[in-house]
């Protein structure tokens, strides 16, 4: 059996999945100030009276990293950045101990200026004096040639507990994001490590010796061990959990929107024929733009607990804040949930408190209380719908760089929305009425995200770059470099990248017999000097598709029966 746990803003959902479906599901309140206790309580409740030897896997999706980053609670680390010519790297300063050093690599990975050993050693002594234990090292174009980052890391090696190098994060080009991401990884490392060490230890004490996997922003998992090099990848896994939870219920050969309506936010994700759409560069969160592979998701500040206020013209305003729970549950400010209570959609509770809350708004809007409640509800639905349309437009107007893509590029045109999250069933009918979409509510909508976490497969990607003129092929994230002959081709490159991907996926916890690999990018251009072709420039990117682990891909049938 598998345990899936998803920490949400207000509730933490936990499910225990067996071959026959959900064996058990629990909800515990999330205590943001003590996530460790929240997670542990969740696991304790779900495993109570269960034979721990029957549990094979535990997948965690937490808000630990997201909160640390968004609230800017990152502890001090050292950052060493080697940029060469271009934009002044001072603009990308991440923290106090941020050093811009000599050394330069060009776009083809050629060394233009060497690094200066003395300069690095001097910085190392300074950082050591300050008590710094973790350092990030980032070079421009290090994904074309990581030697400067590697050499700097080697020089620092004896001084510090752990060094994070930029080239291992992603094969994507983007120096500022590489800096930001390396900084996040280095800075959240101690928090991530002590949290999961504690979780692991507590579980072992209870006799629960299962492999722990961590859900990533791209809807895949990584093993706890491999997460220590990339703790930042666990950021913002919540929307990924909901997308994975909805995935089994998506229509075949069709685009589909996943809408997770929560207490404070609504997350939107997209599936193309069951496969989630990924962000091409990396996730942006708060002010941070990163290279962390993630699903293309969009969050809006509309949820069941969004406070309803009036603007200067006495017009209804939804959110963006949550000012405590809904009035029906003892809050002091009316919310969307209160509107749903007044409209009779949420039943089995006392209507009085909600009614007086909405009534106080109605006195000023000049409409009746019922009308006001229905206006609030419609406004919330329309806000969500307009964000959905914007998001589809944005993705479809993404620039392309070849005539082929321009003429034949895929255009998203979803016709269906899958809803999950607490208030999902209340919204379904109205969103359908107000839009052109068909709506489906995912079975077990209230714990679908925890199910998604439980059955997500291990994912990763590999970028391979070959330059037959210079006679090498390299996948810097994997620390792979080999000489190649002049006849090295795209087919060879794909083969090589796939082998590296397989190796990487297994190392990160994947089942070798259950890898669905695909080429997501391939470009081959001749390089010409004078009027002769001197070589080929080949770029390939392959991935393990985000998807569901073998044996659980038919979970839809179990849940709907």
């Amino acid at each position: 059996m598998i345990i899936g746990l998803d920490v949400g803003g207000t509730h933490t959902d936990v499910v225990l999945l067996g071959k026959n479906g959900i064996e058990r599901a629990v909800k515990v309140p999330t205590d943001e100030s003590d996530l460790f206790n929240t997670v542990l309580t969740g696991i304790e409740k779900i495993t109570a009276n269960i034979d721990s030897s029957t549990i094979k896997r535990l997948v965690l999706s937490t808000t630990l990293i997201t909160n640390t980053v968004v609230q800017n609670k990152l502890p001090e680390v050292g950052m060493i950045v080697s940029s060469g010519p271009g934009i002044d790297p001072e603009y990308y300063r991440t923290n106090r101990f941020y050093y811009s050093v000599s050394g330069s690599i060009d776009h083809r990975g050629r060394e233009i200026e060497p690094i200066d050993r003395n300069e690095i050693e001097k910085i190392a002594w300074d950082l050591k004096k300050e008590g710094i234990r973790y350092v990030g090292v980032v070079g421009k174009f290090s994904v074309r040639n990581p030697s400067h980052e590697q050499n700097i890391a080697r020089i620092l090696g004896n001084f510090f507990d752990k060094i994070f190098t930029g080239h291992r994060i992603s094969g994507n080009l983007n120096f500022p994001r590489r800096i930001a991401t390396t900084h996040i990884n280095a800075a959240v490392y101690p928090i991530h490590k002590s949290f999961f060490d504690a979780v692991k230890k507590s579980l072992e004490k209870k006799g629960l010796n299962v492999p722990i996997d961590i859900l990533k922003a791209d809807g895949g998992t990584m093993s706890l061990d491999s997460s220590s090099d990339f703790p930042g990848h666990a950021i913002f896994s919540g929307p990924a959990a909901s997308a994975m939870g909805a995935m089994p219920f998506a229509p075949d050969n069709e685009d589909c929107i996943v809408l997770d309506i929560g207490g404070t936010t609504t997350d939107i994700a997209l599936l193309i024929n069951h496969v989630p759409v990924l962000n091409p560069v990396g996730i942006s969160l708060g002010g941070f733009k990163t290279l962390i592979r993630s699903l293309e998701t969009h969050s809006i500040a509309v949820g069941g607990d969004s406070a309803i206020t009036l603007d200067n013209h006495n017009k209804l305003k939804i959110g963006p804040q949550r000012m405590g729970p809904a009035m029906v549950y003892g809050g002091s400010v009316p919310t969307i949930t209160d509107a749903l209570v007044v409209l009779g959609k949420v039943k089995d509770c006392s209507r009085d408190k909600s009614y007086s809350g909405i009534e106080s708004l109605a006195l000023k809007t000049g409409d009746s209380t019922m009308e006001t409640a229905s206006n609030i509800f419609d406004q919330a639905c329309n806000m969500i719908l307009s964000e959905i349309r914007d998001m589809i437009f944005r993705i479809n107007s993404k620039p392309v760089y070849t005539i082929h893509e321009f003429m034949e590029g895929y255009k998203l045109s979803p016709k269906k929305i899958l809803l999950i999250g607490g208030p999902a069933p209340y919204f379904a009918r109205r969103i359908e009425d107000l839009s052109e979409f068909r709506i489906g509510v995912v079975p077990r909508w209230n714990v679908a995200n925890a199910i998604g976490a439980a059955i997500a497969r291990t994912t990763c990607e590999v970028t391979l770059f070959a330059d037959t003129e210079q006679g090498f092929t390299v996948s810097v994230e994997e620390g792979f470099k080999e000489k190649v002959a002049t006849d090295f081709s795209m087919i060879d490159a794909v083969k090589m990248a796939s082998a590296l991907l397989m190796e990487k996926a297994v190392k990160r916890g994947a089942d070798a017999s259950d890898l669905e690999m695909e080429v997501i990018e391939s470009l081959q251009l001749n390089m010409v000097k004078g009027f002769c072709t001197t070589g080929r420039n080949i770029r390939v990117r392959v991935q393990v598709k985000p998807g569901l682990i073998y044996g659980y891909d038919s979970i839809a049938d179990m849940l709907t029966e």
Binding site: D88, I112, R177, P399, Y401
Partner: protein, 439 residues
């Protein structure tokens, strides 16, 4: 410090990784690959105030507004040309819709050697992407006075040809001396037709001119003329083949020089033209231009191994450039007198030319007749024969044509002898109407 653009800047990037004139031609798939790498690695598209747009295609009508395509638009354009011209159009719209303050279209193939009549490709160009954009903008946004400053190393003879008779378009080309480089034209005495004297300005620079000479010319010759002309928008045909590392030219311009040029010129719209040093120049020059357009510090942009001392121009070159500048400014200041002399009470003016399409190896003979008109740019007809055997008559009625010139255009079009011409074209810009009869 936070990085953000002072001027909101739009980019359209279309490297056309699947299009080339031929596999080893300078205008090939690889050309913008390293520029793209540099733009991505520098994270330019993440900078607040820099926005990337997805290009749209131009329509057949957009092309007909500018060109007479022989035998028709689809025969001279491939998809890549529709996209490349579409990139310029997209940026032009973004600027005039005020989505951005400025814009830069980095697309291929280029266009500034394409003239009004198109039998095939010249100087790697089939259609004139700047002119297609400008005429679209004139139609949709009702702008009138436009300046095009062509800083490609080659004379922008196509743009010159299209605007030769248009007093509302100031065309300034700064280029390597035509006696030393393709297409062999662009001398100071080429000042435009009788209805548009001195709205064509040519500034040839000697080979081995460096940043100093270029920037001198921009500051002391180009800028004063622009200030006098007062265009509503300034377009820069931003060729990058003046670079010291360019394989097909002999100039010594650097990335810093290009960035400085851009910040002096302050173009509303820049459109990439040539530039064939795809590894050593383009990544750095484009970075410099984008930063300069956006008003972001570009002082640290530098080509690997660039040593300004090695590329400094000689005193001879400096003197030559200063003298050319004086000549051109005196033409500009005396433009009314020169105009009077050229018009000299004639009714019509004629010019005969032989035009070579080097890329497609076509030879064209043209006889052009323009009505000398005090009230408009003048009706224009072009009798053109190519050595592929096509004989055509092309009649152009300018956008703000007076009634007489419009009538004359229609008379020319309707009275063309069917047995002489294979085809007869009419471009009626006053009605945005494009007609064709075949013989």
């Amino acid at each position: 410090m936070k990085l953000s653009a002072k001027n909101k800047t739009g980019l359209v990037f279309f490297p056309a990784f699947d299009w080339a004139i031929s596999p080893t031609h300078p205008e090939r798939e690889e050309r913008l690959l390293y520029t793209q790498d540099q733009v991505f690695e520098e994270g330019l598209l993440d900078i607040e105030g820099i926005e990337e747009f997805r290009p749209e295609l131009v329509t057949v009508e957009d092309v007909q507004r500018v060109h007479f395509c022989v035998p028709d638009v689809h025969k001279v354009m491939t998809e890549s040309h529709f996209i490349s011209a579409g990139c310029a159009k997209t940026i032009g719209k973004a600027v005039l819709d005020k989505k951005v303050a400025r814009g830069f279209s980095l697309a291929r193939p280029p266009g500034h050697h394409a003239m009004r009549v198109v039998h095939g490709a010249r100087g790697f160009c089939n259609v004139n992407i700047e002119a297609i954009m400008i005429e679209y903008l004139r139609r949709e946004y009702n702008i009138r006075k436009v300046a095009v400053v062509d800083t490609d190393c080659h004379h922008g003879d196509g743009t010159q040809d299209i605007y030769w008779h248009d007093p509302d378009t100031l065309f300034i080309s700064v280029h390597q001396d035509g006696r030393t480089l393709y297409p062999g034209s662009g001398f100071p005495y080429e000042l435009g037709g009788p209805n548009a004297v001195a709205t064509t300005i040519n500034i040839p620079l000697p080979p081995f001119t460096s940043d100093e000479g270029f920037l001198f010319t921009i500051k002391n010759v180009v800028m004063p003329i622009l200030d006098d002309f007062k265009p509503e928008i300034i377009i820069n045909s931003a060729g990058q083949d003046n670079h010291f590392s360019d394989p097909i030219t002999q100039m010594n311009f650097s990335a810093q020089g290009y960035a400085a040029l851009t910040s002096i010129l302050k173009p509303d719209i820049a459109v990439l033209e040539g530039g064939y040093s795809i590894e050593g120049a383009l990544p750095y020059v484009n970075l410099g231009i984008i930063l300069a357009m956006a008003g972001i510090d570009y002082s640290r942009v530098k080509e690997p191994c660039y040593d300004p001392d090695k590329y400094r121009q000689t005193p001879d070159i400096t003197m030559n450039i200063e003298k050319t500048g004086e000549t051109i400014l005196s033409y500009w200041q005396n433009r009314d007198k020169i105009s009077e002399r050229i018009r000299d009470k004639k009714d019509f003016d004629e010019r005969k030319r032989s035009i070579y399409y080097d890329t497609d190896n076509i030879r064209e003979q043209q006889k052009e007749t323009v009505k000398i008109c005090p009230d408009c740019a003048g009706a224009l007809k072009i009798d053109s024969t190519s050595d592929r055997g096509t004989h055509l008559l092309a009649v152009h009625i300018p956008l703000r044509a007076c009634e007489k010139c419009r009538d004359l255009g229609y008379i020319w079009y309707h009275s063309a002898e069917q047995n002489i011409y294979d085809m007869v074209f009419l471009q009626d810009r006053t009605e945005d109407k494009y007609l064709k009869q075949t013989g």
